[in-house]
């Protein structure tokens, strides 16, 4: 029961932070969803950071559940990412190209952000892997 509460509170904070972050970022011309991109890349960096800290046993299980699973999971969104892309694809040929660029940029930047976050957080296997 306590775990449910921790995930709930963490997720609520993440979702509200995402909404404010997205309101700050303008949507670019041709409908490129820059706001969703910024939220997802920021969340990827932060989830890497907190997962790295957790694997180093710097943070406790309860904190991990609230921050990593709740807040950093709730800060990002896959449904808006997929839906915004599908709307662009259905709209026009130009829209489909914008969607393709958006998806590629999101995947590459999100992946790089997680790796950077994990390194900053100090995940052991990233540092001690044999040469």
């Amino acid at each position: 029961m306590q775990a449910v509460l921790l995930v709930f509170v963490g997720g609520a904070v993440g979702a509200v932070a995402r909404e404010f972050l997205m309101l700050l970022v303008p949507t670019l011309s041709r409908g490129f969803p820059l706001d969703i991109l910024v939220a997802n890349v920021a969340a990827s960096l932060l989830i890497g950071l907190s997962a790295g800290r957790y694997s180093r046993k710097v943070i406790a299980d309860r904190w991990h559940l609230m921050v990593t699973t709740g807040t950093m999971g709730g800060l990002s969104t896959f449904s808006s990412f997929a839906y915004a892309s599908s709307v662009l694809i259905e709209a026009s040929m130009t829209g489909a190209l914008v969607a393709a660029a958006y998806i590629l940029i999101s995947l590459v930047m999100g992946y790089v952000a997680v790796i950077v976050g994990l390194k900053l957080g100090g995940r052991p296997q990233m540092q001690e892997s044999p040469a």
Binding site: G11, V13, A15, R18, L23, T69, G74, F78, S79, S85
Partner: protein, 131 residues
């Protein structure tokens, strides 16, 4: 965005995150392989629902803050945004790559995007057929 919308986004984000955690645990208890089925199923089901509801309620994607609708703040931004996760998907992929499963990580990202797009399109098509 009205202040009351922040509360709806927070409540929805908390609920969605708890649902994500619960589904992830259910899947994790039953499936012990490498492929991150939990996050995958969460993201695809969330994409289907967002496509369906957006068309059913005719949410204008570029003006989604204009209406101040409870449905928009609570269900789409809150519940579905908190339920689905882009950051955990990237963390899963980085974890696979660190365990020498780079090809599986790339396939996982590609399949998530392809299935998520198809699910969003299918959800929207279903709502149009109904409406």
């Amino acid at each position: 965005m009205k202040p009351v919308d922040v509360i709806w986004v927070g409540l929805g984000g908390g609920l969605g995150s708890v649902l994500r955690w619960w589904v992830g645990r259910l899947v994790g208890e039953r499936y012990k392989g490498h492929f991150p089925w939990g996050t995958f199923l969460i993201n695809i089901s969330g994409s289907l629902v967002i496509g369906y509801l957006s068309v059913l309620f005719q949410v204008d994607w570029h003006n989604r803050h204009g209406h101040g609708m409870v449905l928009n703040a609570f269900v789409l931004t809150g519940v579905l945004g908190g339920y689905t996760t882009f950051s955990s998907m990237q963390l899963d992929a980085a974890g696979l790559a660190a365990k020498q499963h780079a090809r599986l990580a790339a396939s996982y990202l590609f399949l998530s995007v392809a299935a998520g797009l198809l699910a969003a399109l299918a959800g929207a098509a279903l709502a149009r057929v109904q409406g």
